[in-house]
């Protein structure tokens, strides 16, 4: 009899499937079609970028090979549609006749590298500053708050333009990196330096409201250390908003890298990024619009996909937030 009751209990419990907050968010995300498609595109693009050498080998394209036989004397591909053919799926870049798809793939690697490292560094600093300010409040928070205000009010764009040359030269002098590596370091460093205040404000506001919740008082009443309260009680509640802002700011930095390379203060040729390709395309836009449309279209597609994934993540993780 007892065993019968027990098994009845077990089967009743089995019918109600227990779900963690993460599983619930995942189910909600899966129901969002736009989000799922965007996530698919984002993942495919990231994979193509990550495995660019393999992809290029399979397609038989080479980013550095100059197809001088396929362009005319003014640098325009001789074949129709900008040289789109079986060998060159997206055509050739004008001027020197490199394969466009291979250049887009290899170029995206630097763009993604800058975007990911910048976001990572900015969120790291933002988390520390935000948690310290929000948890300890008082004078520390005042000083940190004024400093973030200062950075937010600072004309960061002009700063980066103005400091680009001397700072890159300084980095090269120290011997840490040369050429384009130095420029990548400069971009990541400065973009994240001006990027973290946004994150820190978000984290601070979250911590300020979380620390007043009773479960934090409960932890204090049990004698929990500050470390435990911050890492075990507060941090797990911060991941949802942090994931959302990360996914929304990634495309921003992707575009920022393109802008600075476009302006000529980022990565320099012969290396390729999407910004450099766009800068090239601009010069040929009247005679050879294909190149511009494909390059700009790729950037728009990726930035849009990342943004939509961010939106979908926000809806999934925080159903109460409004659009």
């Amino acid at each position: 009899m007892v065993s019968k009751l027990k098994s009845a209990n077990a089967s009743a419990a089995g019918q109600i499937i227990s779900r963690s907050p993460r599983q619930i968010a995942w189910r909600r995300f899966r129901r969002n079609k736009v989000g799922m498609v965007s996530a698919g595109i984002s993942i495919v693009v990231l994979m193509l970028s990550l495995f660019a050498p393999v992809v290029c080998k399979i397609l038989g394209i080479n980013p550095d090979e100059l197809n001088l036989d396929l362009i005319d004397s003014s640098g325009i591909p001789t074949l129709p549609n900008g040289g789109i053919s079986r060998e060159h799926p997206l055509g050739l870049t004008p001027g020197i006749g490199r394969d466009l798809l291979a250049n887009l793939l290899y170029g995206s690697r630097i763009s993604f590298l800058v975007a990911f490292l910048t976001t990572g560094l900015a969120i790291f600093i933002g988390l520390i500053v935000g948690i310290v300010g929000g948890y300890f409040r008082g004078r520390i928070d005042d000083y940190l708050g004024r400093f973030t205000d200062f950075l937010l009010a600072f004309p960061a764009f002009f700063m980066i333009v103005a400091l680009s040359e001397p700072m890159v030269a300084r980095i090269q002098e120290t011997g840490i990196a040369q050429g384009n590596s130095a420029r990548v370091i400069f971009l990541i460093f400065f973009l994240s330096f001006f990027g973290w205040p946004g994150f820190s404000r978000l984290v601070r506001s979250q911590v300020l409201s979380l620390r007043e919740r009773d479960f934090v008082t409960a932890a204090q009443a049990m004698g929990a250390s500050r470390k435990r309260i911050i890492f075990k009680e507060l941090m797990p509640n911060l991941w949802a908003p942090v994931i959302v802002v990360v996914s929304l700011s990634l495309p921003g930095y992707l575009a920022a890298e393109a802008v600075f390379s476009f302006l000529g203060i980022g990565i320099q040729p012969p290396a390729t990024t999407w910004g450099i390709l766009l800068d090239n395309a601009r010069r040929f836009v009247t005679v050879y619009p294909n190149f511009f449309l494909i390059t700009a279209g790729s950037l728009v597609l990726v930035v849009l996909a990342f943004n939509l994934v961010g939106d979908a993540l926000r809806d999934a993780l925080d159903p109460r937030s409004e659009r």
């Binding site: 077990a10 779900r19 907050p21 919740r213 009773d214 008082t217 409960a218 049990m222 004698g223």
Partner: protein, 324 residues
Amino acid sequence: MSSPLLSVRNLQKYFPTSRNVGFRKEKLQVKAVDGISFDLMKGETLGLVGESGCGKTTAGRTILKLIEPTAGEIIFEGQDITKLRPGLMTPLRAQMQIIFQDPFSALNPRQTVGKIIAAPFEIQKVTPEGGVKKEVAGLMQRVGLNPEHYNRYPHEFSGGQRQRIGIARAIALKPKLIVADEPVSALDVSIQAQVINLIDDLQKADGISIVFIAHDLSVVQHISDRVAVMYLGKIMELAKTEDLFTAPHHPYTTALLSAVPQPDPRGERNRERIILKGDLPSPINPPAGCVFNTRCWKVQEVCRSKTPELLTVGKSQVACHFPE
């Protein structure tokens, strides 16, 4: 007579605040708790009642040193803990716990129930016999939860069940003192009864002393051995539950009791209501003399100048110049 588990002497908690006067900032103090004293015996339940904003919750949290007191003494098991540093406070925290009013905010939404109830063992570095997991399952059973729900998250439970989780966490380390901060006022009436009876049973079994904060007088009457009535940060009357409810001495207590509806319609019809005039004065600038003098119908000149002490009248302690 045995020595009390907890002695509170002249406890004060003032919160600093400021008001803009022109371009100047005037520094002010909110007198949330303004000199309360009481003893709590082992296994006793002391009800703490009063209107909202009278300092009940602040008093409860200050006793546990979750808020640093401004002045006064808190003596727990003969040890003065008023000035104890947080580090030295940690081992004592195993013996004093708190149950919260809002069961939705009291549990971390990102932790499973098992983890929440196991937290006290983790923090106090206590390993119970048979392991933490077994102990947690036992605790869940004790408070009326299914131990199979160990891996569930708080959002999967109802308000009453969450309150049970909070209670399981509070009794995990077998504390000697629990401050129950309006533990049932957020629950439905039917659930209130279950949770109150649960607290009552656990207390009888473990001999816990409880400071039971509430504004619902019938709840307090049911659970408390003694009751303290608070008004504007001060204790107005402190008496055995039956004495307080049958023979109130302080006009404020009389007014409070007259507000309790009676289940019997005939009694309800004849019930004499004392309706207090005016609003609760601001705790920033409480009235001089007796704090209740602005709303008392028995007010005399002396009430406006001299603060009444908490003195013994009959079997009760009353802070009034003209007790009944």
